[in-house]
């Protein structure tokens, strides 16, 4: 059952892998934005996670430690964002941009001498007979454990935001920091924790790019995935499960265009460059659709998004 040399089961299986980095980064950013902070530095934190994870994995020989290192790298970079926006009350848009510019430079500095090295191989989960189920076995039971972990993170974020007291407080801070402050919640402390979580998730996503998806280190390896993750949060109108849908959609487009690049039997030959730009174009298209018309995504945005909090009394 192939279409022009593209097998749908393989396509779905590989889109699940391709969407892991943006899904992780987007769910982290969703929590950050739910707390009322706009961190545009996702791309910078992702690439720092990619290089930190890569270095840790190469030196320790353990992929798990690599992922932890990646999460730590992203979180450490987000500390700078915390210092600037939460302590020094700097503009969040500008600080996020600075984070990306700095992250791109620092990652390529740290990555000197790591080009062309292979990271430790991916540990496959032993599925036994499950993987032999036709079609669904190929789609569901051929992945490394991070694919399942990323879905679990989405579920956890959804559950915490919807059902727990901590989630309620986080949303309150994001909707009205003044009211939350008046109720005695520590606005800055809650936001700091949210930003750290966002940084760790972006770093984890970046580490997945350099350790599993590519897997090697090159400068600028994340290639705009962080910006697509930011767009997915808007696409998802700040709802966790829609992040999953959004990530699969963009993972699907990425994988499909890669397959079309390689496919020889597809009737129309589209130049490689135009296929390569399609994920970005479709992201823009989706942003336009989501921001206009009746289902306006922006109506769902946290009310205090992007505004700094300074307790004057």
């Amino acid at each position: 059952m192939d279409f022009y040399g593209i097998n749908p089961a393989v396509l779905i299986a590989s889109l699940m892998v391709a969407s892991v980095p943006i899904m992780l980064a987007a769910i982290g950013e969703l929590v950050v934005e739910k707390s009322g902070v706009l961190n545009l530095g996702v791309e910078g934190m992702m690439i720092m996670g990619a290089i930190c994870g890569f270095i840790t994995a190469v030196h320790s020989g353990s992929q798990l430690l690599g992922f932890l290192g990646g999460a730590a790298g992203g979180a450490v970079l987000s500390l700078i964002f915390i210092l600037l926006t939460q302590v020094f009350l700097a503009n969040q848009v500008a600080t996020g941009l600075a984070l990306t510019l700095f992250g791109l430079g620092l990652s390529s500095l740290l990555g000197q001498g790591y080009n062309g090295i292979k990271p430790p191989p991916t540990g496959m989960v032993p599925y036994g007979p499950l993987a032999d189920i036709p079609f669904f076995g190929r789609i569901l039971f051929t992945h490394d454990w991070m694919v399942y972990a990323s879905i679990a993170v989405v579920a956890a974020v959804w559950a915490v935001l919807k059902y727990s007291r901590a989630g309620l407080i986080l949303r309150a801070v994001g909707e009205s920091h003044d009211a939350a402050h008046a109720l005695g919640y520590k606005v800055i402390r809650i936001r700091v924790m949210a930003i750290l979580f966002g940084g760790a998730m972006a770093g984890l996503g970046g580490a997945y790019v350099s350790l599993v998806r590519v897997p090697q280190w090159t400068d600028g390896i994340t290639a705009g995935a962080g910006w697509i993750a930011l767009a997915i949060v808007v696409f998802a109108s700040w709802k966790p499960w829609r992040v999953l849908i959004g990530a699969y959609l963009f993972g699907g487009i990425t994988v499909l265009q890669l397959n079309l690049q390689a496919s020889n039997s597809f009737p129309i030959r589209i130049p490689v460059e135009y296929l390569a730009m399609s994920p970005y174009l479709i992201t823009i298209l989706v942003l336009v659709i989501m921001s206009s018309g009746r289902g306006k995504a922006s109506l769902n945005a946290p009310a205090a998004l992007g505004r700094n909090f300074h307790a004057s009394r």
Binding site: F88, A94, L97, G105, S108, L109, L230, L287, S292
Partner: protein, 363 residues
């Protein structure tokens, strides 16, 4: 414990003082980074900031480079600063820069090998047009559909990079280039070349355009109603709306101006210092210009000085790479650090820092 107290009006002293403080802090932090990399920090800082201008051996080569590198940075940053002042975030100048270069070079190459006086002016118009339409995409999506201009303008950079690759491999490839990617060299086509105007200074038409942009932006912001509206919209959006300022008109104008200027910068670069359209034509000027705009405190004169300083870090960085083996990525990180320190010390112009214990003693 320290307490922050909002100033009723931003401090005039710190408005000018913060960029200098930020540069000094960046030099200290950058020196630490160079020391960690195993280089002598003092020598590295001297190589970056002093040698390109005053070292007898290198200054003859480096000094002209200062204007060559500062020209596009200033041109782009001036455009960006207008939008940033009004709270309109065009961060896709890199893409507009690429599209300006493609449009301008395309017009020039279409006339090849004809020689005529009007070719270069036509290229300049095409370059500005290329940047303009690329910036109009986020602007119109913003005004029509309320789509976030930050994300759209940034995502379009990746689209522009792919178009650039496609152009240098296909449509604009040099037919006599032996199959190598990249267009004809415009430097060898006199009617289309953006030559050095005064030998040995690095002064080309792009630098002239940058100076004109600085003056025009200064007049716009100081004397023209549009400049007033831009400042008002940034500082008090609600008041601006009551005063009859149309936010949509500002979005289109600010995006359009910044796009056209970025396109011009791209055209002058491709016809001059770069010479040809190639896959790796863009070198991040569009992003560095964001730092330049903030370092100049979004003020035209400040941007002029900031552009020169940032150009110095580029040239000094190359020199340090050559002399001390400092990786070029270290300079990129150094420039990013500068933006961090700028944003951090900006606190001083809007807030007073009080130490409660000292205040009690004073009473």
């Amino acid at each position: 414990m320290l307490i922050l107290e909002r100033r009723p009006t931003p401090s005039r002293f710190w408005a000018w003082g913060t960029p200098f403080l930020a540069v000094i802090l960046t030099m200290i932090a950058g020196g630490l980074m160079f020391a960690i990399l195993g280089k002598d920090p003092f020598e590295a800082i001297r190589t970056i900031f002093w040698d390109p201008l005053f070292n007898a051996q290198f200054a003859a080569y480096s000094r002209p480079q200062l204007l060559v590198k500062a020209g596009p940075l200033i041109l782009i940053a001036i455009g960006l600063s207008l939008g940033f002042r009004a709270g309109i975030w065009n961060i896709g100048a890199e893409g507009q820069y690429i599209m300006g270069a493609i449009f301008g070079a395309g017009v020039g190459l279409a006339f090849y090998p004809m020689e005529a006086w009007f070719i270069f002016p036509l290229m300049v118009i095409a370059g500005a047009f290329g940047g303009l339409i690329w910036a109009m995409i986020p602007a119109i999506l913003k005004t029509r559909f309320r789509t976030n201009e930050i994300l759209v303008s940034l995502l379009l950079v990746y689209v522009a990079e792919n178009i650039l690759a496609s152009m240098s491999l296909g449509l604009l490839r040099n037919p006599e280039g032996g199959g190598f990617p990249g267009s004809r060299n415009l430097g060898q086509y006199p009617s289309a070349a953006n030559h050095e105007l005064i030998a040995g200074t690095g002064m080309h038409w792009g630098v002239v355009a940058a100076f004109i942009a600085v003056i025009a932006a200064y007049i716009l912001l100081q004397r023209h109603i549009l400049g007033f509206q831009i400042k008002l919209a940034g500082q008090a959006p609600r008041a601006a709306r009551f005063a009859g300022v149309s936010p949509d008109r500002l979005v289109v104008l600010c995006m359009g101006i910044s796009g056209a200027l970025a396109g011009l910068a791209g055209l002058f670069e491709v016809a001059g210092p770069a010479g040809q359209i190639s896959i790796d034509f863009n070198s991040g000027y569009g992003f560095t210009a964001i730092i330049v705009a903030f370092l100049g405190r979004l003020n035209p004169v400040g941007i002029l000085l900031a552009g020169l300083l940032m150009a110095l870090t580029y040239i000094g960085g190359e020199l340090a790479q050559f002399m001390l083996g400092l990786p070029s990525a270290a300079i990129q990180a150094f420039q990013g650090m500068l933006l961090f320190f700028l944003l951090a010390v900006d606190l001083l112009s809007n807030y007073r820092i009080r130490v409660p214990m000292l205040m009690k003693e004073a009473r």
